[in-house]
């Protein structure tokens, strides 16, 4: 097991380097001169002032040197300062990251609680009205834009209950109930598409497992249907489902971006978006990289978890 984990971590390094290269290249190759944007394009800044700015930002160095410097700074924990506020980018993101992670985890919890029982019932009652309804319902869930659901939720709560979300983020450690009150709607909006994916996956694997020899044996030797369902079938059916859910967690962190905007939460996604509109390059670079690193780490954990749950794949 530890060998497998070590192997996986070793494989992570080229991926991380590739990711940092890609982000760096993306921001360098795109049109527009950063210096023009900072100094303003109205021509008030003299070319000497621009040149000075260029020099101080290290933009006169060859591109590979710039990359190595940037990477070196990142590794020593200094991803630069925001061009807009001058605040260290690391601090901005460390404030934003917990919001996004909490949102993603809550979304995951909600979707799983609803989706797994529905998937199991759908599989057991295969080809009934319930099964058909949940299949169609699943496709409907996949089709709802989460920002629309989020907007409607805000509309509904403000019209019916006169409730609007607080503008400032309430940390869980300070006021758990206030925090959950604030986070519950966004995480449900986030959970809906994932719910559909998990439900379909549970149904499929459940059907597969129910057709296995050991389930037939358990039936033949006269075990009650309920224990067969839970002890024999569900336990095995859930292994691939857990993997799918795990991989979705990273995706949730991405889709959280849009929901964060609707609810005015200052998570990583919203921060990234503001940074893009402000052309705040260091912040864009770092926010993208942070999201991607968290995404890759989650996938690593899921891989290891999968190997631990299902010893058959460890050798593969």
């Amino acid at each position: 097991m530890s060998k497998y984990i070590a192997q996986r971590i070793a494989l992570l390094i080229p991926t991380l380097i590739g990711m940092s290269l890609l982000i760096f290249a993306m921001l360098r190759l795109l049109p527009g001169d950063v210096v023009d944007i900072i100094a303003g394009t109205d021509g008030t800044a003299s070319s000497a002032a621009k040149e000075k700015l260029r020099e101080s930002m290290g933009l006169n160095d060859p591109v590979p040197v710039q990359y190595v410097k940037w990477l070196g700074n990142l590794l020593t924990g200094d991803p630069g300062k925001s061009m807009r506020s001058g605040e260290p980018v690391g601090e901005i993101l460390m404030r934003a990251l917990p919001i996004t992670i909490e949102l993603a985890i809550l979304g995951l919890v909600f979707s799983t609680i609803v989706a797994i029982p529905l998937g199991v019932i759908s599989a057991v009652k295969r080809d009934t009205v319930f099964d058909f309804a949940s299949r169609v319902g699943g496709l409907v869930g996949l089709s709802l834009p989460n920002f629309w659901v989020a907007t409607l939720m805000l509309l509904f709560t403000s019209k019916v209950f006169g409730w609007t979300p607080s503008i400032r983020f309430i940390p869980f450690t300070k006021d758990p109930i206030g925090n959950l009150e604030q986070m519950i709607l966004p995480s449900i909006a986030l959970a809906i598409p994932l719910m559909a994916i998990t439900m379909r996956m549970t149904r499929t694997t459940m059907l597969e497992v129910l057709g296995q020899d050991y389930v037939r044996t358990a039936n033949a030797k006269g075990l009650a249907p309920q224990p067969i369902l839970y002890r024999h079938a569900l336990k095995n059916a859930l292994i691939p489902v857990i993997t799918v859910i795990g991989f979705q967690l990273g995706g949730l962190m991405g889709s959280a971006a849009v929901v964060e905007v609707v609810f005015g939460l200052n998570g990583v996604g919203n921060t990234l978006l503001q940074a893009i509109f402000n052309r705040d390059y260091p912040l864009v670079q770092a926010a993208t990289l942070y999201l991607a690193v968290v995404f890759v780490m989650i996938n690593l954990v899921v891989d290891v978890l999968y190997a631990w749950l299902d010893p058959r794949i460890k050798l593969g």
């Binding site: 990711m19 834009p145 629309w148 907007t151 990234l272």
Partner: protein, 297 residues
């Protein structure tokens, strides 16, 4: 298609169906209510986009009416913050959704398809490096990458298409590569090669027709994702720019006015959901019909 479904039972089923059903009835496996519902929705939206000038009662940018009117017979879905007819704007908005959806998936298909074909067919270092790049692309949450690309290129319809095309390309590369690898090991490929067929001929005559079925299914399903992504980008202000009507953009503006006119936030979202549902239904149905192996996605 016939080559993909060469399992014996399918062939017998096909023959039986052909013998028993009159020519004007679909063969049995084409009778898929979900797929048909999807096809109807997609067709309906396509017609709406094509004949928008005939269907829309007003010009989409005409500011003729009173602002923020509720739905009525004159304005089926009310009017917006500038007094424009919401129904007309939704009808015209279907053009943007379909155009961006189709073109961005075409970009993804072109980039991903070629990469996957080269990687799967030639193998070796081409395969290693292509798949390494694909893995790295997969390491980013898709929508985040789309936000960054379209945001940095500058918000516009063209750049939204490019961004969405790029983020879906790796998925196509992976599926095409897998399908090509499966086809490559078939005996008929070896036979054709022994007979002296060139690479180009092998790909054209044997590889492409045999990977078409999974590709059609994947394309349909990604059309739904692409339309959702376009709507999200427009919603964030990173897609097609106003005053051109887009469903996502209309929702974005509706947020400001929804306390006074909630219907502004309802109809555009409904339009997005219905069209995306149409493609999801169609893809689901096509998967059942064309590619039974993919059914368990």
């Amino acid at each position: 298609m016939s080559v993909v479904t060469t399992t014996p039972d399918v062939i017998t089923e096909g023959r039986v169906a052909r013998a028993e059903t009159p020519w004007w009835r679909f063969p049995k496996r084409w009778r898929n209510p979900i797929g048909i519902a999807g096809a109807i929705i997609v067709l309906f939206t396509a017609l709406m986009a094509i004949f928008a000038p005939l269907i829309a009662p007003y010009e989409p940018s005409a500011q003729g009416a009173i602002r923020l009117l509720p739905p009525s017979w004159d304005h089926l879905m009310g009017t917006d913050e500038l007094g424009r007819d919401t129904f007309s704007r939704i009808v015209y908005g279907s053009r943007v959704s379909l155009q961006v959806g189709i073109l961005s998936v075409a970009i993804a298909l072109a980039i991903g398809g070629i990469l996957g074909l080269v990687a799967g067919y030639f193998g070796g270092w081409a395969d290693t490096w292509t798949m390494r790049l694909v893995d790295i692309m997969f390491a980013f949450p898709g929508i985040v990458l789309a936000i960054v690309i379209s945001g940095l290129l500058g918000p516009s319809r063209r750049n939204a298409m490019i961004a969405i095309g790029i983020i879906y390309a790796p998925a196509f590369a992976r599926v095409v590569r897998g399908a090509v690898l499966a086809v490559k090991s078939e005996a008929y490929m070896e036979a054709a090669r022994v007979l002296g067929a060139s690479n180009a001929r092998l790909v054209r005559q044997h590889v492409v027709p045999n990977i078409l079925a999974p590709l059609i299914v994947l394309t349909t399903l990604y059309l739904s994702s692409a339309i959702l992504s376009e709507a999200a980008l427009s919603f964030l202000g990173l897609g097609t720019q106003p005053p051109e009507p887009t469903w996502g953009g209309m929702l974005n503006i509706a947020r400001t006015y929804m306390e006074i006119s909630p219907w502004m936030a309802v109809f555009p979202g409904l339009a997005i959901a219905i069209l995306v549902l149409g493609f999801n239904f169609l893809g689901d149905g096509l998967r059942d019909i064309l590619d039974p192996r993919l059914r368990e996605r």
